[in-house]
């Protein structure tokens, strides 16, 4: 018997040994390496998958249609994080050796861990409308970009919307805030506290522990009791769908239920018509009626090169993935212009990002006319604090119901500066910006 055991054991040991060489992957020389941190597994796969597909498919489309960016193929490489910070870091270490030109962590937790590394490893981080709000300040965080809007912008935009114009109309009202009880959901808390005291409305907080994502009846009982005039939600993954169902159970009026920009169709289909009137923020178009998305359909999806199931193609989160990849490509293109090189480095792409200037014309060139509002980044402003609009669930799909609402910068900006300063102070020896600025603005 135990002879066999030894055999088994040595066998397993060999298996381990075999995998050893895999630890040092080689980098391809003739292409630009663009890693994508995605999660198609775990409790958050529901939100992660369409985003991953959108990001992946747009870049693949560029490779197939234009042979990459500026004639250089993009080496697109997904790494599965499962929305888990440790796995995210593993991915980061795995891709670092292949000199990536940009990193999209797609998790606030991972972003927070990577922010300090970015400057050291000379790799820009694009945390598109998530991550650390304060990282919008380019002079403190030269390597971090979180366009087009921060969570604080989004929060103030939601408040402006429900107030019907300006926040001071909320005086005496009660706002419920149900949130995913982690870095992401806690991000807006200071702003809420601030604004509540400034404008004299009451906040009620309903944290949802990650472990209880799908077990929210207690929170919704609280909401039934407190009867807030509006409920704002920062949810992610399975939390969104559950919240919507519980809201329906609790008989909470859907038209008073507004969410940040993360819910997708998948979160609402199971609720169907009952969820009519549920609103979320968004800043880009939904659907496939854009030349670029048609190209994706033609070259990638129909060619079976995409993992996206037909019904998920060109949904809210899919298109958000596309938007994210569009920024990557744009940054690389700028980098090539600025540096005159074809094979750009992270350093160049950082400059490229600071020079992003997407006006209507440029969107048209990209085959995304009217896909999103124009915006530009600068060395000081890595976010642009763009306006976002409200879209409403009509029982089958999201429809845009408002014009873009601009953030309440007057109140947000000071907090932002403060937070950025605090961060730099807390992290002793935080480097002052040395990176040169070459944007015309």
């Amino acid at each position: 018997m135990s002879n066999k055991k030894i055999a088994y054991f040595t066998g397993a040991a060999l298996a381990l040994a075999l995998t050893a060489p895999a630890f040092t992957p080689a980098a391809a020389e003739d292409s630009i390496y663009v890693p994508l941190f995605t999660y198609r597994t775990g409790p958050f796969a529901g939100s992660g998958t369409p985003i991953a597909d959108g990001m992946h498919d747009y870049l693949t489309m560029l490779n197939l249609r234009d042979g990459g960016v500026g004639g250089v193929k993009l080496n697109v490489d997904e790494c599965e994080t499962g929305y888990d910070t440790k796995k995210g870091l593993e991915c980061y270490d795995a891709v670092k050796s292949k000199n990536p030109v940009i990193v999209n962590p797609w998790s606030t937790g991972i972003t927070l861990s990577l922010i300090p590394k970015a400057a050291v490893d000379k790799t820009p981080i694009l945390s598109m409308a998530y991550g650390l709000s304060a990282s919008a300040k380019g002079d403190v965080f030269p390597w971090i970009f979180n366009p087009p809007a921060t969570y604080w912008d989004g929060t103030s935009e939601i408040l402006k919307y429900i107030a019907g114009g300006s926040i001071d109309k909320l005086k005496g009202k009660t706002i419920g805030y149900i949130y995913f009880d982690a870095g992401f959901g806690r991000e807006p808390l200071p702003l809420f506290k601030q604004l509540a005291s400034d404008f004299g409305f009451t906040m009620k907080y309903y944290p949802v522990a990650p472990a209880d994502m799908q077990n929210q009846s207690a929170q919704w009982l609280d909401i039934r009791r407190d009867k807030p005039d509006f409920v704002v939600m920062f949810g992610w993954g399975a939390m969104n769908a559950t919240a919507v169902k519980e809201a329906i159970k609790a008989g909470y009026p859907m038209d008073k239920f507004v969410s940040i920009w993360w819910p997708g169709e998948a979160d609402l289909v199971s609720a169907g018509d009952a969820a009519k009137g549920f609103k979320t923020l968004n800043w880009h178009g939904v659907g496939a009626d854009y030349p670029a998305l048609q190209d994706i359909k033609k070259l990638v999806v129909d060619a079976g090169k995409s993992q996206a199931p037909k019904d998920e193609f060109a949904g809210v989160l899919y298109d958000r993935g596309v938007y994210n990849s569009m920024l990557i490509a744009e940054a690389i293109a700028n980098a090539q212009k600025l540096s005159g090189k074809k094979l750009v480095t992270g350093e160049d792409v950082r400059r490229g990002l600071e020079n992003i200037n997407l006006d209507a014309a440029r969107f048209k060139e990209l085959g995304l006319e009217g896909f999103a509002a124009p915006f530009k980044l600068s060395c000081a402003d890595h976010n642009s604090h763009s306006a976002t609009f409200i879209q409403e669930w009509d029982g089958a799909k999201f429809v845009k119901v408002t014009d873009p609402i601009s953030p309440d910068s007057a109140d947000v900006q000071p907090l932002l500066d403060e937070a950025a300063k605090a961060y730099a102070e807390k992290n002793a020896g935080w480097p002052a910006r040395t990176e040169a600025c070459d944007s015309k603005s």
């Binding site: 198609r40 998958t49 472990a211 209880d212 207690a218 009791r225 769908a241 289909v269 199971s270």
Partner: protein, 318 residues
């Protein structure tokens, strides 16, 4: 002082002030408890018969539900899918018995416990591999599960009972009674109890352990399926549910690892207890205490009855 007021007076004042909410809370807790109890029931079945602390019970629930929805997506009519899923659960039971229990029989229980962890990984990986990782909505209407709610005007307010939750409670009841009768009145059931009491003795009177194991694991699988359907219909079917399933542990321990009524009573105590706690006391501590309250309740009970409410008494002899 005000804290004391918040803790000892205010909640009860609220209960009296709006009894409808109190009833609603208890109902919510009751339904949650029923579902915990069903998961715990699966644990107990297996623990009684094979002495295995089956950690995979929670995952079996998700796996069963996923399989059901998966088959339906692949085009099988709801009830065909249901039958197929039950078949899968049977195969799973067979596999577990062949691959895990048989080789590991008479090994330290911790190893068997560990093996069920392995099973958990296997089911998560396999399940996502086959059915994909993103959450699916349960085919509730196809299975003729009621939807909507009954709103009772009472106690100066409304108490709304989800038809689905009522169905969950009924199904749970049916299963418990069914299992009870099965173990009381069938040959296999008696054999199982014999095994539970003493493996050797059972063997000597010619009960086939392996057969028994397959049966209990299958039974646990069916219970898991029922639980999965119910919970899947309340939220969505995804592996995030496995975390909810952990709540079955305090239930189980509270009820006593070997007692079916224990699992039920424990489930209700935990379910109602945590909801009341969260609803009336949670906000004092900033909310979210539900995530640990259940365990604290169970621990408090254990300090007085280390063997759980209905567990066999542990007598220390030398």
């Amino acid at each position: 002082m005000s804290l004391l007021y918040q803790i000892f007076i205010d909640p009860f004042a609220q209960m009296i002030a709006s009894p409808d909410l109190l009833v609603q809370t208890i109902w919510e807790g009751f339904v949650g408890g029923v579902l915990y109890a069903l998961i715990a029931l699966g644990f107990v079945l297996i623990f009684k018969a094979s002495g295995v602390f089956n950690f995979a019970q929670g995952i079996m629930m998700v796996f069963a539900a996923l399989t059901l929805v998966g088959f339906h997506e692949k085009g099988a009519p709801a009830f065909v899918a249901l039958v197929l899923t039950i078949g899968v659960m049977y195969l799973l039971a067979l596999g577990v018995e062949r691959v895990i229990l048989r080789p590991l029989v008479n090994q330290p229980e911790i190893s068997l416990f560990m093996a069920t962890f392995g099973l958990t990984y296997l089911l998560i990986g396999g399940g996502e591999l086959v059915f994909g990782g993103n959450p699916k909505s349960m085919i509730a209407s196809e299975l003729y599960l009621p939807s909507g709610s009954i709103d009772l005007k009472m106690l100066g307010g409304t108490v709304s009972l989800q038809k689905l939750d009522i169905a969950a409670a009924v199904i749970a009841l049916v299963m418990v009674v069914g299992l009870g009768l099965f173990f009381q009145n069938t040959r296999i059931g008696r054999a199982l109890r014999a095994v539970a009491d003493d493996h050797q003795a059972a063997l000597s009177v010619g009960v086939s352990l392996n057969q028994i194991w397959v049966i209990v694991w299958f039974a646990a699988g069916v219970v898991a399926l029922a639980t999965g359907i119910m919970w899947g219909a309340r939220s969505d079917v995804s592996f995030a549910l496995q975390i909810v399933a952990l709540k079955a542990l305090p239930v189980l321990v509270l009820g006593g690892l070997t007692s079916i009524p224990g699992a039920i009573v424990g489930g209700l105590i935990i379910g109602v207890g945590e909801k009341l706690g969260e609803f009336y006391w949670g906000h004092i501590f900033g909310g979210g205490i539900e995530s640990w309250l259940a365990y604290m309740i169970a621990m408090a009970f254990l300090l007085f009855r280390p063997q759980g409410l209905f567990g066999e008494r542990i007598i220390e002899r030398v």
